[in-house]
């Protein structure tokens, strides 16, 4: 099972001729991921290590049946690239690109939601991996192990830390997902939690959050009402100094939410096991499984 991607996913890499795009496309293919195509306007007909390149995502989908797009396109062009994949009916778009203006993110999120059936993961995220099946992103697959724990996180490297802790204790993962830490992420904690709840293979969930925003508080509310599987959580930034806030608009919108303490309390109220240090995640999962 796993969620969102598995051995049958066919991946088109947008920006495959760039340094990062090429490195990770080839690395993921070596892992067993079906990397079926790449795109780069003007380079259609060429190849990268026998992966065919197309000018557009539409052409790539028509020729190869790709259903997942992995985007490494630079920030100035990322919005157009993501929308191109969405308008070509790509089922899932995973946008790795960091540094996209918030206005572009907000616009593309709402266009995708209003006008297409695509799901967007990211931007500014490490992507996702269903261990042993498919890696669509930049996570180091060496640290993963196939199994039954679903991992979802706002942070990239902290996801790796959590997965590493699980694998060290021989606890495998169904799917590990980084939703990204930008102001307007595509899939939210709640979207991913819902998928994990429905997935037969997933038996427990690890959720990693960080200070800022209200995504963790909203997830806590959702867990309380909808998630029957055990959840372990860690929130980064307990000792981080509070950022200076300017103006009052932000304070009116988020109220007292956003601190590590508020998030941890909300999660504990939803019967989530909250640990104080990422290295304690493995042990906590072991105890509840």
């Amino acid at each position: 099972m796993a969620i969102l991607i598995d051995q049958n996913s066919k991946v088109v890499v947008q920006g495959i001729t760039g340094r990062e795009g090429q490195f990770h496309a080839l690395r993921n293919r070596d892992y067993g991921t079906n990397i079926v195509a790449g795109t780069r306007p003007g380079k259609g007909g060429e190849e990268v290590e026998s992966i065919p390149i197309f000018n557009t995502v539409k052409e790539a989908i028509d020729a190869t049946g790709a259903n997942v797009a992995l985007t490494f396109v630079p920030p100035a062009f990322a919005k157009d690239a993501v929308l191109e994949a969405a308008y070509a009916d790509c089922e899932l778009i995973v946008c790795i690109t960091e540094g996209i203006p918030a206005k572009d993110e907000a616009e593309m999120f709402n266009l995708i939601k209003n006008k297409t059936n695509s799901k967007l993961l990211g931007p500014n995220c490490p992507g996702l991996i269903s261990p042993g099946k498919s890696n669509v992103g930049i996570m180091p697959h060496e640290i993963t192990l196939p199994g039954n724990v679903g991992v979802v996180s706002r942070s990239g490297t902290l996801t790796y830390q959590a997965v590493h802790e699980l694998t060290q204790l021989d606890i495998g993962q169904s799917t590990c997902i980084g939703i990204g830490g930008d102001p307007v992420p595509g899939m939210s904690f709640i979207d991913v939690l819902k998928n994990f709840e429905e997935d037969k293979e997933t038996q427990a969930i690890v959720m990693i959050g960080e200070i800022g925003g209200t995504a963790e508080e909203e997830a806590a509310e959702y867990i309380k009402n909808n998630i029957t599987k055990p959840v372990v959580s860690y929130i980064a930034g307990v000792t981080a100094p509070p950022g200076k806030k300017m103006g009052h608009a932000g304070a009116i919108v988020s109220g007292n939410k956003g601190t590590a303490k508020a998030k941890m309390e909300a999660l504990e109220k939803a019967n989530v096991v909250v640990v104080s240090n990422p290295t304690k995640i493995g042990q906590a999962v072991k105890e509840i499984m």
Partner: protein, 377 residues
């Protein structure tokens, strides 16, 4: 990036948003240069902290003597730990009514949020808390534009003075244009006022989305005009995300989440971090050398903890950077390193081939934190 009031108002000028005539003063002598404002004028301290009026940072001057007196008083003043280095001299207008207006992004709704209230010029957070009906909140779909009807409806619902409906609609639309086309994270005007000189934005709180710097030439000029501590400046020039903190363990890591978590783990072992330093994703050897150089300028650092979990960042490049920055050097402090993830074995190999007696390699994040805190005492 949060702007000073005068910087926000320079953006008002670019977007044709009515605001009082003003003159920026860095030192008292500036008052002699080409000053053509009509009295009375308001002398306003330029600081990025609330409550400057109550602290005596805003004064009304009716003539040149008062202007000189108040300017001398306010320049150099300390307002809640912020030194006043600039003052804005602005033509005063007779205020008939004061409103509140802001545009921001509501992250949970994933839409733009306009907030409008007839109760401007006062503590708007208290208004929101005590009389939520006095604050009109309108969500705007970022994939659509702000229609005139929506603005009019908000003006009516907020019970603003309808005699000025057209001018209010116009200035609100222009402020929205600044928010979107200007790539602002926040545009807040308190007060948006009806004055003897028409509808005007009397104050500005603007914050810019620096991810959009590539499409706004003015961002760089504005950025260079905002003072930051020297260590943060040198880090910024090197493309590092650095924030100075109060402790003594220097921290270098990749990814904001992991770095924040490193701060937490160091605290668990009884230490405290001297800084937050994120080398970002895909760092090259030079980035790591630059990060170590930044820490060298900080006298409070007594040990360093480098915590890397490779993904898009490759541990061998990080190790190379460490070796380049430290080879043959007498290090000021011990460096504790933890590498995992992409090319970790290659990275560890490089470190072992280039030993330095003050560099320590550990297996886990906890061991590293413990050692870094110990090395500190």
């Amino acid at each position: 990036m949060d702007l000073f009031e005068y910087q926000g108002k320079s953006l008002y000028a670019n977007y044709d948003i009515a605001h009082p005539n003003s003159f920026l003063v860095n030192k008292i002598e500036d008052l002699n240069d080409g000053f053509e404002l009509n009295y009375p004028v308001v002398v306003k301290a330029q600081v990025q902290v609330g409550g400057r009026g109550k602290a005596g940072g805003i004064k009304l001057a009716n003539n040149q003597d008062e202007l000189l007196l108040f300017s001398k008083e306010i320049l150099g003043m300390d307002i809640k730990g912020h030194l006043v280095e600039r003052i804005l001299i602005e033509e005063a207008s007779e205020i008939e009514e004061e409103y509140y207006l802001s545009f921001t992004l509501d992250r949970s709704e994933k839409k733009y949020l306009m907030m409008l209230s007839a109760k401007g010029g006062m503590d708007i957070e208290a208004v929101a808390e005590e009389n939520p009906d006095d604050l009109t909140m309108v969500y705007i779909d970022p994939s659509e534009s702000l229609s005139e009807d929506v603005v009019t409806e908000a003006i009516v619902n907020s019970r603003l003075n309808l005699n000025h409906k057209n001018d209010l609609t116009e200035i609100i639309k222009r402020l929205f244009n600044l928010f979107v086309a200007g790539d602002c994270d926040l545009v807040e005007v308190n007060p948006l006022a009806i004055t003897s000189n028409g509808v005007m934005a009397l104050d500005s709180k603007v914050s810019l989305d620096m991810n959009a710097k590539y499409r706004h030439e003015e961002f760089e000029t504005i950025e260079n005009d905002i003072p930051i501590p020297p260590s943060e400046k040198s880090a910024k020039e090197k493309g590092l995300n650095f924030i100075k903190l109060d402790g003594s363990v220097g921290i270098i890591g990749n990814g904001a989440g992991l770095v924040m978590s490193t701060l937490d783990v160091v605290a668990e072992y009884g230490g405290s971090a001297a800084n937050f330093l994120d080398i970002g994703g895909g760092a090259k050897a030079e980035t790591v050398s630059a990060a170590l150089e930044v820490l060298e300028t900080d006298e409070s650092v007594t040990s360093v903890f480098i915590n890397i979990f490779g993904g898009i960042t490759r541990c061998d490049l990080v190790a190379q950077g460490i070796v380049e920055a430290t080879k043959g050097k007498d290090l000021k402090w011990p460096i504790v390193i933890r590498l995992d993830g992409t090319n970790a074995n290659e990275g560890l190999q490089i470190l072992r081939e280039n030993p330095n007696e003050r560099i320590f390699i550990t297996e886990t994040m906890n061991q590293a934190a413990e050692l870094a805190v110990k090395g500190n005492n």
